[in-house]
Amino acid sequence: MRWTDKYRPKAFKDIIGNGKQKKEIEAWVENWKNDIPQECLLLIGPAGTGKTSIAHIIASNFSEFIELNASDKRSYDIIMNTVGESATTQSLFSNERKLIILDEVDGIHGNDDRGGTRAIGKIIKTSHHPMVMTANDFYSKRLTSIKPKCKVIKINKVHTNSINALLKKICKEEGVIADPVAIKELAKRSNGDMRSALNTLQVIADDSKKLELSDLDTVSQKDNTNNIFDSVRRVLKSKSIDKIKKSMMLDEDPTLVMEYLAENIPREYEKPEEIKKAYEMISEADLYFGRARSSRNYTYWRYATDFMGIGVALSKEETYKKFTRLTGSMAFALMGRTRGKRALRDRIAEKMSKKLHVSNSVAISMFPELEIMFENDELAYEIASYLDFDDDEIKRFRNRKIPKKVIKKMEKRKLEEKAKTKVFKESSLNVAIENKDKTEKTSQIEKNTESENLKKDKKKKYSVKSENENKNNNQKNTENKDKKEKKETAQKSLFNF
């Protein structure tokens, strides 16, 4: 039996870490039991932190459950047929609720699982039953439509010390004689992933019943970064072509190895001349990786590997006699850290690309000018409503929200304009109102020819009327109409010109 199953937590109290989240979930379950319907639950967190375990513990509180995970095909039809059906029906023999578990929802594949997210959205809306979903990636595009409809609970990585304690306990129960240092190392290397730690422990100690530090090196951990670091260190520290060639034979994406090498070159090499030479080699290697990619001619890789291995190694005058702490690619780390920021950026660019007929990258190149335009409250409001920005997106361009006062003023002005144009066209009786607050825009509208005014009249009448009926709801609607009209006016005047 796999230890990961054997020692899978059976109740909430067995779950390690995430105390606050646990309480929230227990309350959720309790409410369901008391027949208070709750929002659908979405557990997000890295692998091996216990999301699926939690889902199953929740399931043990209900009489029945249905589970659909990544190994099942999850297209629109399949989800609707399996889960969708039961989501709206009740069991024949009992009144009790049944739990729906959708595991790894961010793993829904774009192509093969077409319509999967749409089906989930629909089920969330219509289901009478409790529902739990799990996902790894908070920023996954597939979650954007699901997230707002759910109660999102972030499950954090489990602390090394907690894993350490767990491993000790299991060693005791399994009768494994373990070196405490090795256990600690194993806990550390698992990087918060209990499943991987348990799996490694079982592979090493299931038969031999002992765990020593040296065992850890023979069993490959979940990630091979240690091996990459060995190769990187070899390249930076050695000048022997034979040794370097051998160390470059490793089971990794070579472009990743290149990133790690590039990252650590300036950490090891000190003379500018060396850094220059070494980086030139990296650049050369990268060029051939690029050529391999675009021409599908992967024989280029061998040159690239030589450039980044031997080339970088021979760029140093002499091997440094010092210890350098090697790090993973900080560029990747930066990408991870700024993921939310970048997602926001791309979301804005997407909105702009639709309205302005430009690609995302062109839209991004317009950001600096927009930033300056957004310093002006009124213009900020105009542009933001034209591009349909939400508050977060506005904050990308200015430090504070657009003051309520300005928004009110602009909205009022728009309404007045509409009223004015109506009055203007119907008769000149109400000139008084018009004079009260003259803006430059009226003059623009006045430019309209009389015949066009007549044509538009009907449309406007309608919009003003509806405004009075339901000001708030229709405001946006009329605003849009207003904009459209103004655009037409602008176009018209362009033609005249």
């Binding site: 192509n111 290149m258 990133e259 590039a262 300036p266 950490r267 500018p272 850094i275 220059k276 070494a278 980086y279 030139e280 990296i282 650049s283 990268d286 060029l287 990786f289 690029g290 050529r291 990619r293 675009s294 900080m330 560029a331 930066l334 990408m335 700024t338 920021k341 970048r342 950026r345 660019a349 302005l356 007929h357 430009v358 690609s359 995302n360 990258s361 062109v362 991004i364 190149s365 600096p368 000018e369 927009l370 930033e371 300056i372 335009m373 310093e375 002006n376 213009l379 105009e382 542009i383 034209y386 591009l387 430059e440 904009k483 103004k486 655009k487 602008a490 362009l494 033609f495 010109f497």
Partner: protein, 315 residues
């Protein structure tokens, strides 16, 4: 005022497009004949490729242009899958209320070779019902079979005087006063890119009643990231790690493209050399290195790695 001026003042018909008069005359023939071959517009950014395409489409398709028109730009998914399904399905349907349907693909040079190959079949299969307009920055990145199926129009950067006229027109429409010298400066920085010119104009206008030289300069210096200057200074003084960090910050977080980075680094170096802050020999070496980097990025290498390597040359 409705949103950005670049969209508000986008010319809506072929007559109003500034600059490219030669091309517009040819395109007008297609409108008169109500038929057109597959077209390819190539040229730098902001010279009117998209505008010309949209205007042409509206004139040819008339009232029902929306129903008979499909626009896909580089940010839409345009893999082989899209070409095979979306575009194909669109081509298959009969045009309604128009002589034929038009598909506009922006920035085709960013499509993969596979997708381009899939496209080539569709361009010849549906000639009766659909025509294509492709736009790209570099026609060299388009596979030959596609180029040979298109009439190619090369858009030139817009001439200074044309940009001036347009900017003055917009300023007048928006009731802004301006200094002539301010417009001159905008034209200088826009380098033939009308979109950029209009963006700078609007940004300057947002800062006050009158568009002055000072405001334009302010906008241009603010809009050009200070980071580039800092980064180069760091590299030149030997702080490679610091320079590399700023490079990554600019590229990863702000999303500046490799191409833009090369341009800005180039401009910064030129500026330093012109101000006499750089030894001519070093200058030439650096330009050589920048040229090399530019070439490699276009060849398909990873822009960030290439630029990091470029920074080492500054040490």
């Amino acid at each position: 005022m409705s949103g950005p001026w670049v969209e508000k003042y986008r010319p809506q018909n072929l007559e109003n497009i500034v600059g490219q008069t030669h091309i517009m005359d040819l395109l007008k023939n297609y409108v008169d004949e109500k038929s057109m071959p597959n077209l390819m517009f190539t040229g730098p950014a902001g010279v009117g490729k998209t505008t010309a395409a949209l205007a042409l489409v509206k004139s040819i398709l008339g009232e029902y242009w929306r129903q008979n028109f499909l626009e896909l730009n580089a940010s839409d998914a345009r893999g082989i899958e899209t070409v095979r399904t979306n575009i194909k399905n669109f081509c298959r349907l009969k045009p309604v209320g128009a002589p034929f349907r038009i598909i506009f693909l922006d920035e085709v040079d960013n499509m993969t070779k596979d997708a381009q190959h899939a496209l080539r079949r569709e361009m010849e299969m549906y000639t009766k019902t659909a025509s294509f307009i492709l736009s790209c920055n570099y026609s060299s990145k388009i596979i030959d079979p596609i180029q040979s199926r298109c009439a190619i129009f090369r858009f030139a950067p817009i001439k200074g005087q044309d940009i001036i006229k347009r900017l003055e027109y917009i300023a007048k429409e928006e009731n802004f006063e301006y200094e002539d010298s301010a417009i001159q400066i905008i034209v200088y920085f826009a380098e033939g890119d009308m979109r950029k010119a209009i963006n700078i104009l609007q940004a300057s206008a947002s800062m006050g009643e009158k568009i002055t030289e000072d405001k334009v300069n302010d906008v241009v210096s603010k809009a050009r990231p200070r980071d580039i200057n800092d980064m180069i200074t760091k590299a030149l003084t030997g702080d490679f790690m610091g320079a590399r960090d700023s490079l990554r910050e600019t590229m990863v977080t702000q999303g500046t493209s490799g191409e833009d980075m090369v341009n800005q680094i180039y401009q910064d170096i030129v500026k330093r050399a012109m101000e006499g802050k750089m030894d001519p020999d070093i200058y030439i070496n650096l330009i050589e290195a920048i040229a090399q980097t530019d070439f490699r990025i276009r060849e398909g290498a990873n822009p960030r790695i290439q630029l990091e390597a470029l920074l080492t040359k500054f040490l």
